[in-house]
């Protein structure tokens, strides 16, 4: 559905503006980091919008359930208020893809797990049926192709990495196809940027694993703003070459800082944080669009980042990580 008159977004945008004010701000996250114990961090969290959920939490270690429920609710709320739910639904597609990966692995391992995520758009039972019966007719086209490929090839090579790679490829080609159909430049911009950042990270990871360019070719996602060839050419170059080679792109700053940090400390933390912040910055640019899906998408992303930050802090607090290690991984807020 393509909406020509964007004023139908008036209500949804207004609603999201109100919800945005309840996002956790930097100060509160900082207080959680400074808390002496995980319990105290949780108390700080309980002062916020999470009060009800925290109150129901029986055990501190169940916080993942709290976060999963929150994620599901956020998607439900935004889907409900959005006049064009299909624009929102494609953002939940990665959870469907996750569920498909889980179901395929369950099938080949012959066991059951409880790793499914509720926030997806496709019904778990239908997915389960499709995977069990090799009947993928009802899946979106790209996912169907990936599923068919896996069910043909997996038993021959038994490589679980292939499942993940095939579905990751399918996910992003699906996302790009959908945004093209919806003619949403904003979403296309978002996904192509995500693809570039993922490809960039994949390149460095493949280099670190000392695999060759054929492997990289399989892993790289198509459709980004930078062509896969640019990355493939860099496989045999030292990492420093990456910084100069991509110096003329939008990613120059983040690459210079993130990759240098990776080279020096052997840790991807900085680059990953900067990548997420880059996406946040992109979304923030359209934050003040008065009528349109942009603020909704921005809010969803902000909420996902917030949930990731809470997880990071709680895991860090439970395991007594130094505050600095938590802080350097903390994603920037959307506010």
């Amino acid at each position: 559905m393509v909406i020509s008159d964007q004023t139908v977004y008036a209500y949804a945008v207004g609603r999201v503006r109100a919800l945005e004010t309840r996002l956790l701000d930097r100060g509160r996250l900082e207080r959680m980091i400074e808390a002496a114990t995980a319990d105290e961090a949780l108390k700080v969290l309980a002062e916020s919008d999470y009060a009800g959920a925290v109150g129901e939490l029986a055990d501190l270690y169940d916080f993942e359930q709290l976060l999963a429920a929150e994620l599901k609710n956020v998607f439900k709320t935004v889907l409900r208020i959005s006049p064009a739910p299909d624009q929102i639904a494609i953002l939940a597609l990665r959870y469907d893809v996750h569920n498909l990966k889980v179901l395929f692995k369950e099938k080949y391992l012959g066991l059951k797990s409880d790793l499914l995520i509720d926030a997806g758009t496709l019904d778990h039972e239908n997915l389960q049926y499709a995977v069990n019966e090799d009947d993928f007719r009802d899946l979106p086209e790209q996912l169907r192709k990936a599923s068919e490929k896996i069910s043909e090839e997996f038993l021959l090579n038994r490589n679980p990495q292939m499942i993940d790679i095939a579905f990751d490829q399918a996910l992003y080609s699906r996302l790009l196809a959908e945004t093209a159909r919806l003619k949403s430049e904003f979403l296309t911009g978002l996904f192509t940027r995500q693809i570039d950042l993922i490809n960039l990270k994949s390149l460095i990871r493949v280099k670190r694993m000392r695999f060759d360019r054929d492997f990289l070719r399989k892993v790289l996602l198509l459709g980004g703003r930078l062509t896969p060839e640019r990355f493939i050419l860099l496989v045999d170059e030292p990492l420093e070459a990456l910084i100069t080679s991509l110096a003329m792109t939008d990613y120059a700053d983040l690459i210079a800082e993130g990759v240098r940090d990776w080279i020096e400390r052997g840790s991807a933390a900085r680059l990953e944080k900067l990548s997420d912040d880059f996406i946040s910055a992109y979304l923030k640019r359209s934050k003040w669009t008065p009528f349109g899906p942009e603020p909704l998408i921005g809010y969803l992303w902000a909420k996902e980042m917030e949930i990731n930050n809470i997880r990071l802090i709680l895991v860090g607090k439970i395991n007594k990580l130094p505050a600095e290690a938590i802080r350097e991984r903390l994603r920037d807020g959307y506010l």
């Binding site: 797990s113 994949s202 895991v315």
Partner: protein
């Protein structure tokens, strides 16, 4: 606390044999104990070295894993690691260390595919953090040494048990059985001597009586 026996010459011979046997056993067991302790010390040293090395590596890997865990939702992390790429086939044989049967491990890695696809990384790169890679790499590298450690540690445990048993036997022989036998032997020989002396005096007495009558 001597053994209650009949003080006969036959019993004396029997006990003498037992004492000799006990002494021989004691000597053998003592040798066995010394050798066991020597072996034990070698293994314990090796064990300590291995353990310290592995613990250092593991704690590094766990720290990295924790960081990966902190930036990924647990379900996505578990999905990523759900299906392992490698299967390890472990065969357990026995090895004889001083008649202690310790396990001897041999293992073969069954690989699911060939070439670079047989990587240790069972996950795709989109949803996973790069911090996971290094921890998986360390964990996978440490695995074979971990098995070696398990082997050595089990051997050390079994040896320790055996040493304890042997030592108890040695002590039982040295402080209980051998003194007891020696004492009994002494008792019997004294009793026999006593009897002999009794017989002698009796004979002399009879001789006196007979002589007086003549």
């Amino acid at each position: 606390m001597e053994v209650r026996v009949n003080p006969t010459r036959m019993e004396l011979n029997r006990l003498k044999k037992r004492l000799k046997m006990a002494e021989r056993g004691h000597k053998l067991l003592k040798d066995k104990r010394d050798e066991l302790i020597r072996q034990f010390l070698i293994l314990v040293r090796k064990n300590k070295e291995l353990r310290e090395e592995i613990e250092k590596e593991l704690s590094g890997a766990f720290a990295q894993f924790l960081l990966a865990r902190a930036v990924m939702p647990s379900v996505i992390l578990e999905e990523a690691l759900m299906y392992p790429t490698k299967k390890l086939c472990l065969e357990i044989h026995k090895q004889n260390i001083m008649s202690v049967y310790a396990p001897k491990f041999t293992w073969v890695e069954e690989e699911s595919t060939q070439g670079e696809e047989s990587s240790i990384y069972p996950y795709g790169f989109v949803e996973t953090t790069a911090e996971l890679d290094s921890s998986i790499e360390t964990l996978s590298a440490v695995l074979s040494r971990l098995m070696e450690l398990a082997e050595v540690e089990k051997a050390v445990q079994l040896l320790a048990e055996e040493i304890e048993k042997t030592r108890r036997r040695v002590n039982a022989l040295e402080y209980v059985l051998i003194p007891k036998l020696a004492e009994t032997l002494k008792y019997i020989s004294m009793k026999l001597d006593e009897n002999e002396r009794g017989a002698l005096t009796r004979l002399m007495k009879i001789k006196d009586v007979v002589r007086a009558k003549m």
